[in-house]
Structures are given as C-alpha cells and as structure tokens.
Symmetry: D2
Subunit: 351 residues, 4 copies
C-alpha cells in the first residue's frame, strides 16, 4: 500500500504527468510552525538543472490543502500537493511497445493489467519523491521538536569515486544543492560524469546518512528494528539497490573483537561499528547508514531489447529528458525517508 508509518503516517499519490503529486501526513503533532516557504530549501536540494541532471524544470510549488491554521499544524491530517507542469508525454508512447530496460514500465503494465498511467513513468516516476521530500521536511521538524535530532545525508560516492568533502567524514548535507555537489566533485568523479553524459550513459552512486541526537532505546527487536523501519522506507526510493549500517558488509569480514563496540563509562559505545543500533534498538550513538543508488535506467545510449509489439529484438535509444546521475539529487530523498521512519518511531516510543 502507498503509505508508511503507524503513528506518523505518510501517504503519497499522483502520477508524473497527471494533475498533481502530493502527500497526506497523518499524526502530525499540533502546534508545529509550518508555512509553504519552509519546504523550499529541501526542494531546491532535489531540483534538476545542474549538470548531470535532467533539463525538465518544474516550479515545484507546494500547496497546503489542510492541516495548517494560522501558521501552525493543527493535529488534523496535513495535505500538500504539487501541480505538474512541464510534461512531454509524447516521449513515452514508444515505451509501451519497448519497455525501457531497468525501468518499471513493463511490470507496472503487468501489475495493473495495462490500466497504469504510462506517461513519464506514472506513479512509478521519481517525481513521487517530491512529496516525500515535503513529508521529510515535516518529519525533521517533528524530530527537532522531540529533542535535538538532526538527519543529514550527502553523496559519498559517484561512479565509484569517493566524494566526501571537508575535514569530517560527512559533509553537511543540509545546505548543498546538486549544483553545490557538482561544483565540489573530485576530478575523477567529474571526468566519469562527463564521459557518461557524452556517451549517453548514466552513473550510480552511494549516499550516506547520519542521524544525530536520537536517545537510546528506540526500536523493537522483532520485527520493527530501527534498521527494519529505515530500510523499509529507503527501498521505496526508486533506484536503491542496497543498504548497510555502520561497518555494513565489511562487518561480515571482521572478527568480533574488531567489530564489537566497547561501551564507555557513560554507557555510550566508544566507536560506531554498529551504526548506532544494537539488537534493533538505538544505543545513543549516531545512526549511520549507506545506500547504493543504481545508475539511471533511461539512457540515450542504444540498448538491444525486445519490441513487444512484434516480438523481435530491436535497438532502443530512450528519448525524453533524464538525469545522467540521479544520485546528485538523491541525498535529500534518502534523508527525508530516514526522517519519516524515525519520526514515526520517535513520536510514539520517545514519548
């Protein structure tokens, strides 16, 4: 179903080229200051236009339909929509016969017996991450109200090249737009990106997210571990292929004496191989996870794939406007999903 959360529940709706995309947020506490302008910083972090992203530009203007009164959340469901504008639906006619490799075109048609809206990927479009970013803004406000929790995601790798910047391990994600990220890419990453653009190909990447300020004790051993809830939300983001916490896959190659986090006299772990979670429960250290983002499916480069209209193989060069590296726009989406999952957890268990 198209909703997530038990106490703070986000439902998304809409199609890429339909009337609007939007979200309903249920369980938002009353009394949080909120205006449409509050959404813009994160919307800008998801906005296209930078080199390596699609030239489709949308106004992405949020319209709050319910749940806010006199500048504060009311406690009733909060609904925010975004009208769709800049659509080229004719680009997608081709994909009915020749579903794009790596894309949901074909399975959507099977799932919904051909009644799915195929324009721009319909309900499967990355455009659905726009209301998720809006929901994330509210989720982060909820978390900030509960205690001083911050959720920050950034691009850790692009095309296999490490992109961490600054003195600390993780750059401050909150203020960086795709333009900012592109401007600070290491030389090797920039060259890989330029080459992919030139060839009509695409690149993947890795996003890293750090959540600071959560108290110890959140989560449930079976089946609602902190990792369970976060991964559930993260794998709803189109294009995610994997997730790991703390030492992650490296932990499988470590000894217990290397991976274990000794506990300090203040009750907090002395290092963070576990990524802030033991037995599914937060331990007071930052929750840290990494997400593998695949290269964009839609590429101009020719692919040999089926033409289902005549049952033959054929060459497809996908028309339309697509990101060469959607990973440049993904950190804020990952961050939003984490915030949504944690707000849901914290709003109940942290009370």
């Amino acid at each position: 179903m198209n909703s997530f959360g038990r106490y703070f529940r986000v439902s998304v709706f809409g199609e890429s080229h339909g009337v609007a995309v939007g979200a309903v947020l249920d369980g938002v506490p009353a009394g949080i200051p909120l205006a449409e302008a509050d959404f813009m910083e994160d919307i800008d972090r998801r906005r296209s236009g930078a080199r390596g992203t699609t030239p489709r530009r949308e106004s992405d203007t949020p319209e709050i339909l319910s749940g806010v009164y006199n500048g504060y959340t009311t406690g009733a469901p909060l609904t925010v929509i975004f009208r769709n504008g800049n659509t080229h639906s004719s680009d997608y006619e081709l994909f009915k016969a020749m579903p794009r490799p790596g894309h949901a075109d074909h399975v959507a048609s099977i799932k919904w017996n051909g009644y799915n809206d195929p324009r721009g990927g319909g309900h499967f479009s990355g455009r659905l991450t726009l209301p998720i970013v809006a929901a994330g803004v509210v989720a982060k406000k909820v978390l900030a109200c509960k205690s001083d929790v911050t959720v920050k995601a950034s691009l850790a790798e692009l095309g296999g090249v490490c992109c961490r910047v600054g003195p600390g391990a993780v750059p401050d994600g909150a203020s960086r737009t795709p333009e900012d990220i592109v401007a600070s890419l290491p030389q090797a990453a920039r060259e890989a990106m330029d080459k992919a653009i030139l060839e009509g190909d695409s690149l993947g990447g890795i996003a890293e997210c750090v959540v600071d300020g959560l108290p110890a004790g959140l989560g449930e051993p079976f089946f609602d571990s902190v990792e369970s809830l976060i991964s559930h939300a993260i794998f709803a983001v189109p294009g995610v292929r994997g997730i790991e916490f703390g030492d992650g896959f490296m932990a499988s190659r470590m000894k217990g004496s290397e991976h274990n986090d000794p506990i300090g006299t203040d009750g907090h772990p002395l290092k963070n191989g576990a990524g802030g979670v033991n037995g599914g429960i937060t331990n007071g250290a930052p929750v840290v996870f990494r997400v593998a983002l695949k290269p964009t499916s839609s590429i101009r480069k020719t692919q040999h794939t089926a033409d289902l209209s005549n049952g033959c193989m054929a060459d497809l060069s996908a028309p339309g406007r697509h990101d060469a590296c959607f990973a440049l726009r993904a950190p804020v989406v990952i961050e939003s999903m984490a915030a949504i999952a944690l707000a849901d957890l914290y709003i109940f268990e942290g009370s």
Copy 2:
C-alpha cells in the same frame, strides 16, 4: 511491535531462558497439510552442535497449540511453541554490570527500564529465530501452494572467504545442516574459523537467498516495494548489518548500460542485475539478495569495556556458550524471513 505482515501475520514471543518461545501465525489459508514433523528439516538446519556453533543443545521440539485439525491447517490462528530446556542463566549475571560490547544487553535495559529479562539475552536472544524458522516452514508451504515458488538461502562467504559450492552459483540450501556446511568449507574458511575458535574470537559471513517462481507484478511502488518488505523482515534477524539485491552495491559503480537488464521477447529480463525487482515490483526473474552477517558479539577473547557498577573500564571475557560463527546457522533463518515476507505479499496480491 513484535509482529510482521498484513495478510499472513507472524507474531513471535518468548525469552531465551523463559518458559517457551513461540509464534502465532494469522492468515494461514485453510487446508494446508501440516504436522509437527514437517518442521524438523529446517529446525535441523538451525541446530547447534557443529564445529563453530554453540554447544548449547536444545531438543527444539515443536508443539502445535492451535490452528491444525486432522492434519490440516484450519484457517484459524496457528500457534507453535518450543519449551526452553538447557539453560545456564547464571552465566548472565555478570552482564548486568558489564554489558557485552555489540550485544543488546544495555539497550534492552534502557528500553524497558531495567525490567527486561536478561537471562540468555531474553527476548533479544537468537533463540527467537527458532519460532521464525517454524513460521518460515509454513510460509514456504503457503508459497508452494500458490504456485511453484521456492526460497533457498545458503552461505556465500565465511570470514571473507567465498563458500559457494557446486557447479551453479548457489548451492541447494534446503538440505544442508551446519555440519554439512562445515564439511564442505573451503580450506581458507576452515582455517579462519579454527583460528577464531582458538583465539576465543568470532567470524561473520554473507548469506545469499534466491527465490524462484514468483510471478511478475508483486509489490507496491510506495512504500511496500518487494525490497522494502524483505529488508524489513531481514533486519529483524539479530546480527544483520546490510542487504543488497541483484548487483547490489556494485550497481553504484556501474554504468546504466552495464547494469540495466534488457528485456527478452518473452517479457523476461535477459540478465538479472536488478535481482528480480523493477520499481519495487517483481519482474519474473528470480529474486536474489545477499545479507551481511556480523561476527558473533559474545566472545571469550578479552574486551576492554565499562563496568557500570563502578564506573570504571575493565576487562571482559564473556562466559556462556556461544556460536563462533552464527553465520553457519543463519541461512535457514534468512530463508524463513524471506518466505514470511513473500507469503504475506503473495497471499493477497497473487490471488
């Protein structure tokens, strides 16, 4: 909360050294043949006793309390319990003051204000995976009823050493006990294990799971993608640090033209970089995923960690009986969790 699933719902209960552990399965279709003996093959795959596993031996005898009549499931909730027997609770007194690094001892106490049952890890114990294996047996029967779906997990790595056997990529997991796995370990893995045992240390590993026979069209884009549901269940298994589907983290370092799966004229993908899922929906190819399993937390080797009783650092050598490589016993648990998640999905959407 301690349950999972919307249509096929598994609830687990119990503590490691309490009266019993068990599971209630709601939504089991009526008319599936089931007897207590049907659980034994998978229970043997989780059983301790092999080299590298704990010497704590339990009878692990399932007792069906409800939901089966005349050898068939009735449609009413199915309850199965396992009495606990071979317990050495005194081993755990020490951990109240000196919580084991990497274990849930400390967070459980914080979460439940000190009222948690600490004996053997209580509700956080790996023993809770026993009723999960029982639930998995029923889930696999449900899947086999719907169509010819098989779920098979095996050990792909131990201590960083590849353990795949046989001509195909994945060994047939269903028939292999920990003893079988140990017997066929490559030389390097065996040596790493022997060394860890000798040093009182532990090793991690990677389990791989392959699901064959699912139809295309299962899953929901937001938020109940196939990967979302499987990862939610998998991260409830104690000791999991990461999960990846298909090309997984490698996909983040590939180009679109490399990672994309072209579609064949029969509508199925020609390779399986996506791991059987596009846009969160099954595409007809096998669902393939890998799970990173950390090294066992409880080790005899000395760790420098806090003694909370006096606020000083001290040396801890964990007493008690523990697996050096719980990864040897984990594949059937991973397989069970996948089956539970997919039975839940298939029982509704596949109807």
Copy 3:
C-alpha cells in the same frame, strides 16, 4: 488515525472552512470506469437545501487529482478533492469562549492544545462526510465488480416517527434526495420537523441500511467480525449514537427459539434475525443494520452553558447555518461507510 481499511484504505483530510476537503483511496483495483460525473448522484443525496437542512449551499464539485487515466482507475492511489467555498467563518468566533453543547468544539481544543482550526468545526465538521460519500461511490463500484452487491440506506425514523415508505420494508435509497425524503414524510414527521424548525430546535432519526448480494463466509471471528468493521466505520460519522444488526436490541428480549434463524435446505437462513451475520461471518442473507442519529447539536434555541472566557454560565443561541434534521442527509453517508467497510473486507476475502 484518519484512515480506514487494510486493503481498500480510505484517508480523509480537510477542514470545513479550509482550502479543501478530500480523500485518498488506496487499493482501488485497476480498470474500474470512473469519471467525476459518477459522484454526482450520491453527492446530491447529501446536498443541503431541502426544508430541514442548512441553507449553506456548496458547489460540491469533485476534482480527481490522481489514480484515474483515460476514464479508468489505474491501480495507483485515487485522490479526489472538493474546494470549499461558501464559508461564514465569523459565525464561529463565539464558540471559542462558549463551546456549543453537544459539539466537538471544546474537546478538539483540548486534544490539539488550542491549535485546532475552529472555523465551521474544522476537521470535525460534517463537511468531512463529503469525501466519504465520494469514497463510497468508488467502494460501491468495487463491490459491484466483485459480484452483484448493492448497499442501500434510507431514513427509517425521523423524530421518533416511522418513515418507511412503499410496499417493502425498505425504500430504494439510491434515488432519493433530501427533497424526495421530505416530500414523502408522513404527516406526523413533517409536523414534528416544522415544530422543531419553528422553535430553533433539532430532531434526530434512524437510518437503516441493507446490503444485498454478499457471499457467505466474509469476516473474521476475532476481532474483525463483519459487525466490528461496519460499526467501526459507522461510528466515525458525526452524530451516531448507536448501531444494531438484525433483531438488534430486541434480540436481548427474545428467547433463543424466537431469535434463532433456522437454516433452509439451500444453506441459507429462513429468516433474518441475525442481520446476515453469524459468529461475525456473513451467512448469505442480506446484512441489515440500523443507526441511531442524534438531533443536530447546533441549535438557535437558547441553551444555558458555560462561558469559559469568564467562568460564568450564560445563555447561548448558536448563530450560523445548520441542519435542523441532518438525518435527512445522512442515509447516503451511512451507506457509503458500509460500502467502504465491505469493499475492504470483500476485496481480500472474496478473492
């Protein structure tokens, strides 16, 4: 939370004098023909304007934002909104200090710490039943697709006077607007209504709902009996005070030999004292229930109640435009709620 249903899930949002009210419907099967015009017949049955109803007239124009493509439902979430127009928010200033007896003004303020939108009752307004009627239209289409299920509610009593018309026990509710109902009121009911209007008072009533065509076998004994699901939805309608199935409260005064429904040789009950449900499960007979609707809370007639601004008792004559008998407009709302609950049940269990 503001949603209902596991498989066919309805979420409502909006405030009486806010931007819009609306609903998101998740789990709508793909391929159901649907256009905005399809909502109008039922919207007209809820429309004000008849004698005994409020003179506030709204255009009540549905706008579908998502989930419909080329005239058919797509399988993705269906969103429909109604912009609010004809509002007199100033009428409600008074109620902050003097909450209306019988209304939610005061509890809403307590619940949401004064952040609730009080205008027109905000999220507690009967206007929220408009998107519920829209959801009911879709639910009835879902039911009609599954088999030939019909859901029909009508006014059985007004002000204690029986209003059943026609030769059969229950009039055909589907075609009757409030004007139609008023036109066919028995003399005693009309006089009671006229008297109440004259005195600035209000009247209650009883709605009766009959569901034909459900197969036997739907529902769960614990805790999702058919009566549980229907009553859960019905008590979300503002102003409901009771519900009874079949013989209802009369059954408590009958003997078993009187109340029991003997079974005929076709397996169906020979009478319908149980209202179509045994042990929480449909038995193949029509599901029949009655709903007690209170008199409208907002009355012009003077009430002696607290003025919380000064802590004294005072006289309140509620300004604003209100129904004297909202029971005239309620049958379609009751019918919609029943359809929503049954579509949710049938969409899974009937498959």
Copy 4:
C-alpha cells in the same frame, strides 16, 4: 485478522476442544506487577456453574509463557494460555449435517472450506472469551497505571427485565460472579430464567459498561472515534447484536435541546447524554455504553432446520452443555473488551 490494537495489541488463538486457548499481548509497558493469581478474580466472573449457565466446568488455569520476569511485565510480548480439559467432542458430530440455527457452524465451514475444527464450535467458541478476559486484566492494569481509570460492566437487563441493583444506576461489577448476579436477580427475571431452562430455551440480556477517569481528548474524528474502537472490539464478542452510547437509540427520538449536554464552568458536561464522547473524542465525563446480548443459540428445545446430509428439513434438539443465559457470564467479557480498546487508545494518546 485475529488481533486488535495498534499500540497495545491483543491476538487470540485456540479452539474450544483443541490443546489450548490463549492470547499474546504486544505493547504491554514494562514494570507492571503481574502474576497468574491476578487473573483469577475476573476468570471467576466468567466461570460457569451458576444456575442458568453450562455445567461444563474447566479449571481455567492461566499459564504465562512469556513477558513476565521476577513478577513484573518485561516490555516483551506477554503470552498466556489455558489448556482445554473437560471436552465432549462427540456432542458436535451431529452439527456437521445439521448446523445449529444462530450458530457459526455453517459459515465457519463455508469460510474455511470444511477444514475448520468443528468441535465445540472450534475457534468460534465462547471459550475464546477466556483469553480475552485475561487480556482485559492486563489492560485494566495498564489503564490504572496511566491514571485512575476504572472499567466496570454489569448486567442491566435479563430477558427484558431490569436487573440494576443498589442505590446508584449501575452496580459495582467488579466483585460479582454469575452466582452473585443470580442471587440478586429480581423476581421477574428469575422466573423468566427458570421458565426458559424448563423449556430448554434461552434468554438474552443487556450489559452496561461505565468507564470512569479517562481524560478529555482521547480518540480521533476519522475513523478512530472512541465509539469506533470500542464497538469494533465489542462486536467481536460472540452474541452481540447492538451497542449504544449515552442516550443511545433514545437520542434519535429527542430534540437537540433535550439531548445536548450543556458544559459547566469546569469544562465538563453537566449531564451525560453523549456517553462521554463528543465528535469521537472523550469529553471528561464517564464513557457509558450498553450492549445487546442475544439469547444463546444452542437450545435443547426442538428447532425445525435443514439436514444438509439429505437436503431435507428435520427437527434438531441440540445436545451438549450450554448456557441458558450467557448474559450472566458476559459482563466481564464486555468490560475486558472495553479495557483492551481503551488501553490501546490511552497508551499512545495519553502519553
């Protein structure tokens, strides 16, 4: 599904003549004192043996399998079971061919394709209310911890005769067993009961429940009103035909000026026609509701009903041991269900 509650979730399992009946309670706060003896007072209120109840006597001994340690709840799932003992399964052979009028025999068989356990009514048996009473004991402890909430149900009518006793409107239900109730029955009720027993017939009744001490502000307007949650739970009790709150069905025959509860200067209603709930939200007054209980279905008196083995009508005199008036044993069940629903509500919203 066989569970109820979002935060305090009760799952019941078992069959009347199977191994055991029981319940799993998830979300029980840690630190509540609990021992098996604590269940006995309420179990005695449900116990058979009094005149008008079945002579089937069970030991009804609770066995806690999990969730309690050192005399306190741990925070992990709490499981309690009751072994079944005194069963006469042969009494039920007859009902396969001749399903009892008013009972679930026939629909259970349809629902579960004949795989249902028919002995003693199987999962549909009133015996399932035993674990519900156990769950209610815990729920009442949860409510008592949150604030001084009490939930008390009593028998208000038997066979249409008022049974209220004592100076106040409602007798103190907590201390009254069926024997106590029978001992204090008014003359007319006792005569009606004796006559029904003599004729092999059965009687219904009305239970009334009063919840004191809830704060104002609990509940959600759509769709989780207080009445929605309570009625959902109550209609899961076998044999319930209706429920009404406050003035209930009488409200439909009152004017607004009569039914409305003016508000006092302390913010509380001055009378309680609404039964403690406005707009679905508690208003600080006691929550009061009445439940219609049908006469027992299983009667010795001859009924003319179908013999499905030969397709003819025949006479059935139900063998087996049954309550003539299960209403005598029902108040504690109604009380338990209300406590379960309110604990679920309060545990989250009251925090």
